[in-house]
Assembly symmetry: D3
Homo-oligomer: 327 residues x 6
């Protein structure tokens, strides 16, 4: 086990001692402020999957030099000593450097930084690729492939939401693949649903979220996310790819319609109410997997012995965590 | 082809001629009124899958004798002559008799009386029986079997709703079987969902509708339906069977919870918000199949050449009826 | 005065006499049906600004030949004799021909066919052209000009709605010009609002309605209107023109944002909530002119002596029609 | 006056001194945690009617032994010394024992632990007993008596809510008796309301809350409360007693309907809308007394000299506390 | 029994015969129109408690002379012959005269014209007078007395609503007296409620409806009703009387507050949320009696043998009409 | 620059040193409490435009003598030493005196105490006076003048809201003048709107807020604000002035209607829906300027370099702060 300390470990060190430590964290917030003496200093918030803390870096320090150009959402390795200010954990930092996600992973710390789904990224990605391969209509397949080619890096890691369902790294990929599996299981039961359109619609339904959120490890709404919203952004991306792939007008409109209507209700952001068999189907499968994803997550993260989860906003109740008594 | 006339055929006969006809219809409404001379007469509404009309039967006639004791929702065979009163089609009846559904079927008219699903009742029933057989836990299976044994006749024919989805003869059976199929397709993807509970919950989720509605061929809300609602009626039925089958408390509560929560939202009648993996799952599969059932029905009933259906209340839009252009 | 009869005039002719007449009407609905003898016949609804009526055209007639290929929403000149069927006015048609709007205008009947605004189309159009000229930023002006060049014919005549505000011929043009005037009057008071963006946003805010509705004289929602909605259609049109005009990204996003947010609330169809000074401004000016447009219309159409209008859905009350007593 | 210290008294002791104290409190929360050395320790929250505080009990202490098996919601007597940790009052505990409510009462501390209504439990209970006696129909009286016999202990002490009206010890009893009094005062004015059914319905309307909440002195929702809700739980209890008392079907259904509909609106949890004179009546009397109970409570608890209460969620405003000026 | 025919009797006369008749009806609507020959004619709607019909009066007739100056809502006695036009009952009128309500009453026809409550106006009025007498505070009593003195004629006859509860002649008086009775029964239970204010508040709570509605026997919203609403109109009336009676400021504000808040929710028209014990109390008693009034009315008007009423908008369900089975 | 310290300056002084300071603040809250020794002490909250802090004044001190009789919302000058209690800034006060706003202004500190609009009070007031002068109808002008004469002092300084738009000193005056300007710019475009009524309606539309809020520098809802609400209070004020000015009934009702309906929707507090051209117009101009006022304020208060504001409740989004890129 590495000697890097998690936030939870840092906070459990005796407040009375100034213990030296090293750690790898996400730079969640960074603000430049002016001290009484007129010099700038940085107030940073650092965190991992288990918590976060604030610290300051003054203008003439090496830590300031290292963090001043860093972007919110990047990964940093720091050294320092534990300390408290007004009873808040607020360590003194002695060194800092921005590192790549790959290095954090090599150090075995990436998993500790952010919540990830139980299936590996590679496994999920393979299923997505399979999904594309299952589309038979050449231009429709090309449309989807084109979008995925352009967005692969982001698609592999993005969350599916900031605070509701699948709100963690790879969450969008996981949710999309789970919907694909549900789709393929259900298609034989609803022959009115065109398989190609349903699969393409599922893969692209949330593609606008790649632009709506920003920040690799700490998602927040982007400028274009505020101005356009993910539904319209996804529509735009899909439309461009469809035009480049010479998809015929009918299929283009139907594919776009799936994206525009998948939120289900106007007040949840749907630009149109689902009006084709495929759009109704994708919207319902989306809702099914979003809700089941919330259930899966609270079961996965439950503390030993808890009977119920906390109340989940998305389900408007708390979830029973114990297994059925099948005796 | 029989010489029985459908309502649509009757109404297309030249209004100027008093054409004799025979027909088999559902007795949709029956009211006793008093004529100017103080004698009672019946005002009846008769209809089939394609429309309805009103007619009167006076107190001293054979038609009155035949229809006076008949219950709303039964099937009647009538003879009469076409006529109009205030420009409304209102034939003069010369003979009437109540007949059994089996006789209407023998005459090949049952299908014309009421809308039915595309799969046969027998095929659907076999799937339901299979569903029960798939439940492994003995007392849970016994609970479901007990309910089905008690309600088979009604369950085979009841609609799933008065005006929303699957609102036709055998609609409840069809909807339940479609949910079972979806459930069995999806279970491998959501291993957190207990298969036994999900299957039992699906079979029983709408069982209260057998009491909520009344009238064999023309459903309306019953007294107990108004006073209790189908959610509580289903809960009561399932609870009784569970107690008789010695189902353990945990499974009983979870099964009841699926029924109590399946409507999804309190304002749609859910007594509790879905709080177990199985309850969330059944509620979402219910919603998925209800919406897809509306789509399937408008596609099935579409007029040749229509591009869109009428606006559907349950989908808040009209449905595109033409197939995708896969060229 | 022409010898063409308006619908109101036709209906006031003594029902007992079969009076020959000529008239120019809009073909509002057209359905093909099958008569008892197996031949097709047309059931058409014809109307003008003051009412409508139904008539039939049988398969072997000249009227059938003329109307069979006609599109709903076109203008037709007919000859016939007044008649009633089941007390509904339902004339017998002896001749029919589709004519151009220009011919109806030449006959002085266009104004009788459809409601129009008090200002002439030319006057309104001149104001729109002036509005474009007032945009200073070259690429922004080019973007707007490009859209208007592509849509002029439709923009000149389209209604601004099917049933709410400015729901009549030239209504979109009138509403847009009224918003432009309000905008130019208000801009000096809100210097935070960029004039170029506000003007461009106003001209293009409802441009998607040109695709959302179809039918020259009898608007209904088009296929793409159902699948995409006017907000997204307008976004698409503006975006394409902006790209072709090499408008910079910032202005493109802001212009698109005005269109995406102008409906004000998500449940009224806004894809995003207004988040720039210009978007808030355009959305509020839109709401102001829509509501004032309803007031102007009921005042314009009020019957002499009425104290109040009917209840208006869009205002949730009836409007006081009498002028203030300034004595 | 006893030497037990209330929470408010403890917190007003000079933070600088470690003052020894004894006290009787409710064990509101109890969590088991693991210390850095791997040993378990308890984090407990203790409180009374005036506040609460946290304290720790380590694994090898007598306090740990005493509190480890204690249930949340029980009453404990502790000894300790005042202390602060991170400026939060967090005393060091030296002894603890679980005691019965009767002992707390004997020590004169029960009233300080929990809020209680102004009327004594005995007085309220006598009125409830009188209410039952007033039911004339033998099986209906037996039904109610049976439920009350089975639940007396709980019914005497349960609150009527967790956070809305009558949310304190004996609150359910108080609310029920107040409704009974209102009912008997109003019955002569509404002769359409059957007195027996109204009285029985009032006594049983919230009976499900005995199962919905758990914890003697610190109510929270139980497992079955989450899964079924108090409306269905009350229905079940009443139904069972009615069956055992051989109550006829009509009265059973009407009694059940009162319970199922008393919440008034579906989104507030009503399973059916009130559809009998008695159900409408009970639902309105319930609403009346719930709202008046909120008013009575804020008047009772008002600080001398306050003109208004805090804003009450249940009334959507603040309440004027001063008496009318009748000069 | 008089020889005047009710509307129902007129409509049951054989359509084929032109039967002479006399009748007393309310003039519900009156519109002046222009006939083809340029002469004015009246189109009137006449009705009683059981229905209504239209008839025309041409410009040169005695009937025209009699009805032209008549106000909508007045009572008329007509003679004529039964006739049908387009299958609508539309008699030919030969004589008409406006008569006073007292004359209609003398003829024993007033009760047939309009629905009235079961208690007599005199009895209800006596209770109102008693209510005023029970107010002890001199200026408060004077305030109420002053309003009642000014409005007695209208108060005695006005309905309490156009379409919801107590929507019939004397309905406001009946509802007010029923609330007074409920108030006096409940006051001993809620001693926090000042009796004087509650009684005064109840008597005046709906006083604004006397101005909000107009038309003696056929209420519709008046001009000031549309512009101000009954809540503000009632406030204005009460305030004026309070000032004239030198009621102190505190009681004036509290009395006004009861009127302003009695509708309960802002979207139902409350200007403020009830924030005094009296205002909460009056608002809840209002709601109780409004709902019970709907129940009483459907029970009173039920047809022999009906199990359920029609669905009532105000209760969101249908009402069970049969008495409980107390066997 | 004065030696008075702002709250922000006080809080940035090194917590370790007890620095003497002087300051001018608003007395935001004042509560009397009882210390352990039985003596009373004051807990006061003092603040300025940039923040606030708490301090205590014990019963036997000069500070207590000075602040005990002071009203919440007045201005005080204090001396003291910086100090912290439980890590909260909580200075020790050595002297205090209540001062007039004029003195605070003379010391150049008024602007630091409260947020004010960019235009000066005098400039805004001159525009209001001009607005009145523009009313041509003598009695209408007199009505408005009378109200303004009676309320000038309050009108000049009151905020337009507690927490939504224009929620700062002079905010009501600024909002009213901005609406007047918008009105005069728009009137030529909507000739159906009577200028006199629109101007009078705008000046008086929020006049009730002068009574709804209280506290010169720290607005909170008054007793009458809770009991009546600003809509009814404004109605009352306008009505009284109209009666005194002998304004005719028609104009009085229309002016009152503008005030009663300006909130736009019943759930936002409108007593009636806007039903005259002037009322619709004023209500829409109010909404326009309220929303634009929120935009102007966040732009004015934006931190250098921020791209977006915080999320604004009133706009349901965050506002883009950067200017358009007009390159």
């Amino acid at each position: 086990m590495s000697d890097y300390k998690s936030v939870q470990e840092l906070k459990s060190i005796d407040p009375g001692m100034a213990a030296p430590f090293r750690g790898i964290y996400i730079l969640k917030r960074k603000e430049t402020r002016t001290a009484k003496n007129g010099n700038p200093f940085l107030k940073v918030e650092l965190g991992d999957a288990g918590g976060s803390f604030s610290a300051n870096a003054f203008g003439d320090s090496a830590v300031f030099e290292a963090l001043d150009p860093a972007a919110e959402g990047c990964i940093v390795r720091i050294s320092g000593k534990t300390d408290y200010y007004n009873d808040m954990f607020s360590p003194k930092l002695s060194a800092a450097e921005v590192i790549e996600a790959t290095e954090a992973e090599a150090e075995g710390m990436l998993g500790a930084l952010v919540e990830v789904p139980p299936e590996s990224e590679e496994e999920l990605w393979d299923h997505l690729v399979e999904g594309i391969a299952a589309i038979e209509h050449p231009q429709l397949k090309e449309t989807v492939q084109r979008v995925i080619d352009d967005t692969e890096t982001a698609f592999r890691t993005a969350p599916a939401a900031i605070s509701m369902h699948h709100a963690y790294r790879h969450g969008l990929l996981e949710h999309t693949v789970h919907m694909l599996r549900a789709c393929r299981a259900l298609l034989p039961l609803y022959p009115q649903v065109d398989a190609d359109l349903a699969i393409a619609g599922i893969i692209l339904h949330d593609i606008g979220k790649l632009e709506e959120y920003e920040g690799d490890f700490s998602a927040k709404t982007s400028r274009i996310g505020t101005l356009h919203g993910h539904v319209v952004l996804g529509f735009r991306t899909a439309r461009k790819a469809a035009l480049q792939s010479h998809l015929n007008t009918d299929l283009t409109e139907r594919l776009e319609h799936i994206i525009l209507s998948h939120q289900g209700e106007k007040e949840w952001g749907a630009a149109a109410m689902a009006a084709t068999p495929e759009a109704v189907f994708v919207s319902m499968v989306d809702n099914l997997d979003a809700k089941m994803g919330m259930v899966q997550r609270v079961l996965r993260n439950a503390n030993e012995g808890d009977e119920f989860s906390e109340r989940l906003m998305g389900l408007q109740t708390r979830v029973l965590l114990t297994p059925p008594d099948k005796s």
